[in-house]
C-alpha cells in the first residue's frame, strides 16, 4: 500500500517538476548504502528514495548506487570514486560514512554531499536524519495498550544515542498510558542479523513479553512474534507481509521527499549546507496502517501522531527523570536537539543498564 502511495507521490512530483527539466546533461546522483538494497529495512527505504528521484526527474537525473559498503576505509574509496567519475550529488546513508564523506567533500568542492545521521558539515556537505523517536513514542503507547503482561521486549542494535533515544521515547510513550509498564532490552550488536534478532525475540517472549519491538533491520523478530502469537512492530518499512496477524504498525522511513527536494535544490542552484532533522511534520517519518488493534487504540495512536506533528506534544517534554530519579527536564520544558543528539542515559523506569557506559 505504502509503495503505491510512494509511486503516486512520485508521479505527482514528476508532473509538478517535469516542466523544469531541460535537455542538458542529466544531473548525476549517487547513493552509498551500508547494507543490501534487499534488506527490506534501512537500505531498502533509502533505495526507495532513490527510485522516487528517478521517477520525479525522469531523464533530467541519472542515479546510481553502491551497496554493502563497509564503514571504514572502503567507504572513502567508494565515495571518492563516485566523486571522481562525475557524480554531482552523493548521498551517504550510514553514520559510519561520516569521516570518509568529510574527507572526500573537502577534496571535491564542486560536488554536493549529503550524509545521513551524522553531525559534521562543510560548505558542500549537508546532514540529514529523521526524528524516529516520534514514531517510537507512538509505538510505546500502542504497546502499553495491547500488552496483557505489561512487559515489552526490545531488540536493540548498538547503544548509540539514536537507539537509546528510541528506547527512552518508547518507554515514555508506554508510561503515558500505563505507568508500571516494563521494558526488557536485548543488545544483539548488529544492525542486520536475522538469527540473533529472532533468538532475542524468542528469549524475551519466554520471559513474559507479549509485545516485541526492534531497532534492528530484519523482519525476523516479527516472524517470531507471528509464530508465537504475540504482537510486534515493523522497522523502517511496512513489514505487514511478514506478520499479517502480529504487526500493529510500523515506523516508515520516507526519504523520498527529502531526496527529491535536495536534488531539486541542486538543479535550481539554491542548495545550501544545513542540518535537516525531520519528523512527522515533514513526512520523513510516517506510520504504517494501524492493524490488529481495537479502534479506540488506533484512534488514540492517530491522535498522538497528530499532536506530535503539530508540536502540541513533544515526546521528551518535562518533567523527565533519569534512572536515578533525578529531574533532567523541568515541567514545561523540552529536551533540546543537542541533548537529544548525544543522549546516553535512560529515563526512569527502564531496568536495563547501558552497556559500557562510563
Amino acid at each position: 500500500m505504502t509503495r503505491y502511495l510512494k509511486y503516486i507521490t512520485a508521479a505527482f512530483l514528476a508532473v509538478m517538476l517535469g516542466a523544469g527539466a531541460n535537455a542538458a546533461d542529466p544531473l548525476k546522483a549517487a547513493f552509498v548504502y551500508v547494507g543490501p538494497v534487499s534488506d527490506h529495512g534501512w537500505t531498502y527505504q533509502h533505495d526507495q528514495g532513490r527510485l522516487a528521484v528517478e521517477a520525479a526527474f525522469g531523464d533530467a537525473v541519472e542515479t546510481t548506487f553502491v551497496e554493502n559498503v563497509a564503514e571504514g576505509p572502503d567507504a572513502e574509496r567508494v565515495i571518492r570514486q563516485l566523486a571522481a567519475t562525475g557524480q554531482d550529488v552523493i548521498f551517504t546513508t550510514s553514520f559510519g560514512f561520516m569521516n570518509p564523506t568529510v574527507k572526500v567533500s573537502e577534496r571535491f568542492p564542486d560536488v554536493t554531499f549529503a550524509h545521513a545521521t551524522g553531525y559534521k558539515r562543510t560548505d558542500n556537505l549537508t546532514t540529514y536524519s529523521s526524528r524516529f523517536y516520534e514514531g517510537r513514542y507512538v509505538l510505546g503507547q500502542i504497546a502499553a495498550r495491547m500488552s496483557q503482561s505489561g512487559i515489552v521486549g526490545y531488540v536493540a542494535s548498538f547503544p548509540i544515542p539514536e537507539v537509546v533515544r528510541g528506547i527512552n521515547a518508547f518507554m515514555l510513550g508506554m508510561q503515558s498510558v500505563r505507568p508500571d509498564a516494563q521494558i526488557k532490552v536485548v543488545w544483539v550488536s548488529s544492525w542486520f542479523d536475522p538469527g540473533k534478532e529472532g533468538d532475542a525475540a524468542k528469549a524475551m517472549i519466554d520471559q513474559g513479553a507479549d509485545v516485541i519491538t526492534q531497532h534492528t533491520d530484519s523482519p525476523a523478530p516479527l516472524r517470531v512474534a507471528e509464530e508465537r502469537g504475540v504482537f510486534a512492530f515493523g522497522q523502517a518499512s511496512d513489514m505487514i507481509a511478514y506478520a499479517p496477524n502480529a504487526q500493529l504498525t510500523a515506523i516508515i522511513d520516507d526519504w523520498s521527499g527529502y531526496y527529491v527536494s535536495q536534488v531539486q535544490a541542486v538543479i535550481d542552484g539554491t542548495w545550501e549546507s544545513q542540518d535537516i532533522w525531520g519528523g512527522f511534520n515533514t513526512g520523513m517519518v510516517a506510520m504504517a496502517p494501524f492493524t490488529n488493534m481495537p479502534d479506540d487504540v488506533a484512534a488514540e495512536a492517530q491522535a498522538t501522531v497528530d499532536k506530535i506533528s503539530s508540536g502540541e506534544l513533544h515526546p521528551f517534554q518535562g518533567p523527565l527523570f533519569n534512572q536515578a530519579g533525578e529531574e533532567v527536564v523541568a515541567e514545561g520544558e523540552v529536551l533540546d536537539d543537542g541533548a537529544l543528539a548525544g543522549m546516553s542515559w535512560y529515563v526512569k523506569g527502564i531496568e536495563d543498564t547501558l552497556p559500557s557506559s562510563n
Partner: protein, 363 residues
C-alpha cells in the same frame, strides 16, 4: 560406480606453478558466462573489473592500500601453514595489534614527537604477538587444537575492540558515538605520495616478504619450517624441536598481523572504530594459499584479491552489477584453485563396484 582420487607419484613442478594461473583463467571464463547471463557485455564487464582499476594512479594506490594488510598477514600465515600450524585467528591478532597501537596513539594524543609512530608500531607488533601466544601456548603445552582456539580468540578480540570503541577509547566530544578522536598527525602513517592513501605499510609488506623469503630459502630456520610441515617425524629425528616451531610460527604471524592492524588503523582509518577490518585476517588465508605459501607469491595474490574488490566496486558504480557478483567471483576463484591443486596432485579414477575389494572400502 564411484569416483576416486589417486595420488600421483610425483606432481609435476610446472603444473604446481601453473595451477593458480589455470584457475584464474577458468575464473575469467566463468565470469564471461556470468555476465552474459546477467545481460552485460562480458568484455566490457571484465575490462571494468580487472583492467580499469589499473588505469588510474589513484586506483592503483587503492589497490596497494587493500593489498598491504592482506600481504602482511598472508606472509605470516604462509609460515604457519608450511610448518603445519593452523593459525586461523589472524583477524583477532590484527585487531589486537590495532588496539595496542591505538592505545599508544590516544595516550599521547596531541603530543608531537617523531617517536610516537615507531612506538605505536612496536606496540602493534606486541599486541598481535601476545594474542597469538595464547593458542601457541595451549597447543605446545596441552596439545589443544589451535584451529579452534585461535578462531575463537578472534571473536574475543572483536568484542574487546567493540567495547573500547564504545567505552574507554571513545571521543569525549563525539556525541557518544562509538569512535575515538582522529589520531594526531604524529600518530598517522606517512603517505607515500600526494593525492592518494598509499602509506608506509606498503613498504613494510614488501620488506617483510623479502626478509621472510630469504629466511625460508636460505637459512636453517627456513628448512626447519618446511620439514616440520612436510615430514614431522623426520624433523624430530633431525633434532628440531616441535614446540619451538609452534611458538616461532605463531609469534611471527601474530607479529605481522599486529603490524598490519596498527598500520591500517594509523593509515587509511586514522581513528579507532568498533570494526577496523572487513575480514582481512580471513581473506589473507585465501591469499596465503593463492600465493602458494610463498612470501613473494603472496604479494601477487594479495594484489589480485585487492583487484577483485576494487573492480567489484567499479562494476557496481558503472554497470550496476550487484555486490554479490564480487563474492561469487572470489568464491569461484578459491574453488577453482583448490580444484586445480587437487587435480595436480591426484588423478581422478572412475571405478566400478567390483573394485571395492582391491581398493579397500570407503574412506
Amino acid at each position: 560406480m564411484r569416483i576416486e582420487l589417486e595420488a600421483r607419484g610425483q606432481p609435476s613442478v610446472l603444473m604446481t606453478w601453473l595451477s593458480p594461473v589455470i584457475a584464474i583463467l577458468l575464473t575469467l571464463l566463468f565470469g564471461v558466462l556470468m555476465f552474459v547471463l546477467m545481460g552485460q557485455d562480458p568484455i566490457n564487464a571484465l575490462y571494468i573489473y580487472f583492467v580499469q582499476p589499473l588505469t588510474s594512479a589513484y586506483q592503483i594506490q587503492e589497490l596497494i592500500v587493500i593489498a598491504t594488510p592482506l600481504i602482511l598477514i598472508g606472509i605470516g600465515l604462509s609460515i604457519c601453514f608450511l610448518s603445519n600450524n593452523w593459525n586461523i585467528g589472524a583477524e583477532g591478532q590484527f585487531v589486537m595489534g590495532g588496539v595496542a597501537g591505538s592505545w599508544v596513539a590516544l595516550t599521547f594524543h596531541g603530543v608531537d614527537g617523531w617517536w610516537i609512530l615507531p612506538l605505536m608500531m612496536v606496540a602493534g607488533i606486541i599486541g598481535g604477538l601476545l594474542w597469538a601466544l595464547i593458542p601457541a601456548f595451549f597447543k605446545a603445552r596441552y596439545n589443544t587444537n589451535e584451529i579452534l582456539t585461535s578462531l575463537m580468540l578472534t571473536y574475543v578480540a572483536l568484542q574487546f575492540l567493540d567495547y573500547l570503541a564504545r567505552g574507554p577509547f571513545r571521543d569525549p566530544d563525539g556525541f557518544n558515538f562509538p569512535e575515538s578522536k582522529i589520531f594526531s598527525p604524529s600518530a598517522t602513517m606517512p603517505l607515500l605520495s600526494d593525492g592518494g592513501r598509499m602509506h608506509l605499510g606498503a613498504i613494510f609488506a614488501v620488506v617483510a616478504a623479502i626478509v621472510i623469503a630469504i629466511m625460508l630459502w636460505r637459512t636453517i630456520k627456513g628448512f626447519e619450517v618446511k620439514i616440520s610441515g612436510e615430514a614431522p617425524r623426520a624433523a624430530r629425528f633431525a633434532g628440531f624441536n616441535e614446540k619451538s616451531m609452534i611458538y616461532f610460527s605463531f609469534l611471527l604471524s601474530g607479529s605481522l598481523a599486529g603490524l598490519a592492524g596498527i598500520s591500517e588503523v594509523a593509515g587509511p582509518i586514522g581513528q579507532v572504530l568498533p570494526v577496523i577490518s572487513p575480514g582481512y585476517g580471513f581473506t589473507a588465508i585465501i591469499v596465503a594459499f593463492l600465493g602458494r605459501l610463498n612470501p613473494i607469491g603472496v604479494i601477487f595474490a594479495g594484489l589480485l584479491l585487492a583487484l577483485t574488490y576494487i573492480g567489484g566496486e567499479n562494476a557496481q558504480i558503472m554497470l550496476q552489477i550487484p555486490d554479490d557478483a564480487t563474492s561469487v567471483f572470489q568464491g569461484i576463484l578459491l574453488f577453482l584453485i583448490l580444484a586445480c591443486d587437487t587435480l595436480v596432485r591426484y588423478k581422478v579414477k572412475i571405478t566400478g563396484f567390483s573394485s571395492r575389494q582391491t581398493t579397500g572400502g570407503e574412506g
